[in-house]
């Protein structure tokens, strides 16, 4: 019943392509940013939906594009629903802190933990919303399983990653990705994740050493340089604050070490971030599995560096021009206020101008980042991905039903990630 389309040669079954173009995406982003500003953010549900539609429908796998079927009104509804959950929660925590002032700290801590947990819950449910709104070849993706176990699991892994100064991060990622992909399917094709924490650890270790290393070295050096006994004696005698004593004790050398270490770590972070992004992206994409379908990423680190260098090329002139324009309009509006000192409207006008400049600069910078980095990374990730065993995609049976947008709303209301 299926015949080969004789008119157009089908692309190789495992090829992934990105069909969109940057100019169209610039237009989409700039228009959206303007409307966000005009509506003080209320337009974000429609904006996010437009962006997803564009990215999804231009991502082509084996000759067929993805389709995003979510609606902005669903996101709006999810947000309103989330508000109805989050506001009473905030109120309850605040009232409890107020009512029981002996245990206020404990209650505040529990409240914070609850919100972090709810944040992870939200991220998991938001992923379900997006997957069930992603249609490919007339069959939707799905994510099953309760979000609460995931939230606890994620919280524990993140805590572990933090207390180990990031050394446990690869295993945290591997385990959370495994959890998510184990609960993901495309129709009846079960997903899984094959990326190993140890592989990511070995890849990332040099980066970690160069970023965290200088600070560790500085700590060791400081411990050797400072005469702790003498310092202890001085402090016992109450002769000044620890910081003043440290400086008096070892002089400029201490500051030199601290400055050098922080500087080296900062430089390493900036210089190696694209490498880190490339390692993560390659590892993640290469670990994705759907039944017999495997994915491999041929993403080259140099391509990611090119993206970030291009971002510098855009953002630096933008900031310079924005600063110049901002300076001029501040000067002009300042003169206006000075000339009618007592008038509230002039003050309002000047404040509004200052605010508008700030917001336009922030939105502009974010738009540049979204197009030059995020969009480019999406395109690059697609173009360098390759499927094997794509024949398994031909006989997938549909399953799953669309999920509510509550998770998306919670993500939005809690501010744990953009929609």
């Amino acid at each position: 019943m299926t015949t080969v389309d004789a008119l157009s040669a089908p692309p190789p079954a495992g090829a992934v392509q990105f069909l969109g173009n940057e100019a169209a995406y610039w237009r989409l982003r700039i228009k959206g940013a303007g409307l966000l500003l005009l509506t003080l953010g209320i337009y974000r549900f429609w904006f996010a939906t437009d962006v997803r539609r564009y990215l999804w429908s231009n991502t082509e796998i084996g000759g067929e594009t993805l389709e995003y079927t979510g609606l902005a009104t669903e996101l709006l509804g999810g947000f309103l629903f989330a508000i109805a959950i989050v506001v009473p929660l905030y109120t309850a925590v605040a009232s409890a802190v107020l009512a029981l002032d002996t245990a206020a700290m404990a209650i505040a801590a529990i409240g914070f933990l609850l919100l972090v947990l709810l944040g992870q819950f939200a991220l998991y449910r938001a992923r379900r919303y997006r997957l069930t709104r992603t249609v490919f070849r007339g069959v939707r993706f799905d994510q099953h399983g309760s979000a609460w176990p995931y939230a606890f699991y994620a919280l524990l892994w993140w805590l572990l990653a933090i207390v180990t100064l990031g050394l446990a991060y690869p295993w945290a990622q591997a385990n959370l990705q495994r959890y998510k992909m184990r609960h993901t399917s495309y129709g009846d094709l079960q997903g899984s994740f094959a990326g190993a924490g140890s592989a990511l650890f070995l890849r990332g270790l040099p980066v970690w050493l160069l970023v965290v290393g200088p600070i560790a070295v500085a700590f060791i050096a400081l411990a050797r340089m400072v005469d702790w006994n003498a310092l202890n004696d001085l402090m016992a005698q109450g002769k000044g604050t620890p910081l003043a004593l440290l400086v008096g004790n070892s002089g400029v050398a201490v500051f030199a070490v601290v400055a050098a270490a922080t500087g080296a770590s900062l430089v390493a972070t900036l210089a190696l971030y694209p490498l880190f992004a490339a390692i993560m992206m390659r590892w993640w994409i290469s670990g994705l599995r759907f039944g017999a379908v495997t994915v491999r990423s041929r993403l080259a680190t140099g391509q990611v560096y090119r993206i970030y260098l291009r971002f510098l090329l855009y953002i630096v002139p933008f900031i310079v021009v924005a600063a110049a324009l901002g300076g001029v309009s501040m000067y002009l509006s300042g003169a206006l206020v000075a000339s009618n000192h007592d008038s509230m409207p002039a003050e309002l006008f000047m404040s509004a101008i200052t605010l508008a400049i700030y917001v336009v600069v922030m939105l502009g910078a974010s738009t540049i980042y979204q197009v030059v980095v995020t969009f480019a990374m999406w395109r690059l990730a697609a173009q360098t991905a390759e499927l094997s065993g794509a024949a398994a995609l031909d006989g997938v049976r549909a399953s799953g039903v669309p999920d509510s947008a509550l998770g998306e709303g919670l993500v939005d209301a809690l501010g744990v990630g953009g929609i």
Binding site: R137, D342, R397
Partner: protein, 395 residues
């Protein structure tokens, strides 16, 4: 398309929504809908063969829905369809024919643009409406809610604030107690203060029993906490030249107690956080909008609250037979002609406006001082001098 009377048709890809199998089909645009026929263009050249075609489905034009697709592809679904059956048409002529016949497909996107304009207008209206709610609605709403907040809650709130005040302002480390009136040389002053407060309180009908304390702080200021606790700085008593000037300030603070302004501030702050932060301002750079809006609005609420407390002071002073103008006099002495900076951010109305407002409503006439000379001089001594010069920390 071999004969002129044949229906427009062309190649398409069909997914039946039950499986991911890709079906190359021929789509025929009929009078009322599309017929989806098995087999690609190659096998459809001969229209006579159509009887052998397997018909996958027939979709009425009215049911067609445009789904998001890359440029150059018309992706169709069916309205109200729970399955995700899809038809993808790349042939521009066929796509144009279908778009012409199915009005719901919104050829050219005019309907979609209209809808978008409406959404933008509605979102803008919502943002404006929420902003106006913050300016006018919130203070009114707070006034309605305040009577519903149990006094016990405000009392607890006051206790919590009191703890912070003590942590921030207590001058005990300088020697004498923070509160004045307890040392033997101060008791006469304490008694005089009690007399003055009792006179005012009897006329005031406050929701809380008052608890007025004079504390060792140099700044000429006084404040009312939620729950009826009033702190009067020693520095203010130093600046007051008559008992009525002190009484005027006390009456102003009692106005805050009577209006339950502690609870009001909490309610207004919570409402503002909800409107600016949760409902509005959730976009990159929006944080600045949120902070600016909250700051300006809080100052504006505060100015209104202070003006109301001034009016209350005038009223109360008239009731007890004191000089209602005295508050203005002491304000003028304390604040003088200090420059205020931005009007937009003032949490009190400008002093000259306050004095003008007080003088405008206060009755004129000769009044007798609320305390006799002996009591007033005792009250002036309520705080025995500090052994060392007090540190002038900002309040």
């Amino acid at each position: 398309m071999t004969t002129s009377n044949a229906l427009p048709r062309g190649p398409a890809v069909y997914f039946d929504g039950a499986s991911s199998a890709r079906n190359d089909v021929t789509v025929e645009a009929g009078a009322t809908g599309l017929r989806i026929l098995a087999g690609g263009e190659a096998s459809q050249n001969n229209a006579q063969d159509r009887v052998h075609d397997r018909v996958f489905d027939e979709w009425a034009y009215g049911d067609l829905r445009r789904m998001s697709a890359p440029e150059g592809v018309l992706r169709l679904g069916r309205r109200g369809e729970t399955l995700l059956a899809r038809l993808e048409i790349r042939d521009p002529n066929l796509a144009a024919t279908i778009e012409d016949r199915a009005e719901a497909l919104d050829r050219g996107g005019a309907a979609e643009r209209r809808l978008r304009r409406k959404i933008v207008a509605l979102s803008f209206a919502a943002a404006a409406s929420l902003s106006l709610t913050a300016i006018f609605g919130l203070p009114a709403l707070a006034s309605r809610i305040i009577p519903l907040v149990p006094l016990a809650v405000e009392h607890r709130l006051g206790a919590a604030v009191d703890k912070n005040i003590h942590a921030a302002l207590d001058t005990r480390h300088l020697g004498p107690a923070f509160a004045c009136g307890a040392a033997p040389s101060e008791t006469a002053g304490g008694v005089a203060l009690g007399r003055l407060v009792a006179k005012l309180e009897a006329a005031a009908a406050l929701p809380f029993p008052l608890h007025v304390e004079v504390v060792r702080r140099a700044e000429p200021n006084a404040m009312a906490l939620p729950g009826g606790h009033i702190y009067v700085n020693d520095g203010l008593i130093g600046q007051a030249q008559t008992p009525d000037e002190l009484a005027g300030v006390l009456a102003h603070e009692m106005g805050h107690v009577a209006h339950r302004d502690g609870t009001r501030t909490v309610l207004q702050t919570a409402g503002l956080s909800f409107l600016f932060g949760m409902m509005l301002g959730d976009f990159v750079g929006g944080g600045a909008v949120v902070i600016a809006a909250r700051t300006v609005l809080k100052s504006s609420y505060s100015r209104r609250v202070e003006a109301a407390a001034d009016a209350y002071s005038v009223d109360l002073m008239e009731k007890v037979g004191g000089d209602p103008h005295a508050l203005g006099a002491v304000l003028a002495r304390i604040v003088g002609d200090k420059d205020h900076g931005m009007k937009l951010l003032l949490d009190h109305p400008e002093t000259k406006d306050r004095i003008a407002a007080i003088d405008a409503v206060a009755a004129t006439g000769v009044t007798t001082p609320l305390l006799d000379a002996a009591d007033w001089s005792a009250l002036k001594q309520i705080c025995s001098p500090l052994p060392a010069k007090p540190a002038g920390a900002a309040g």
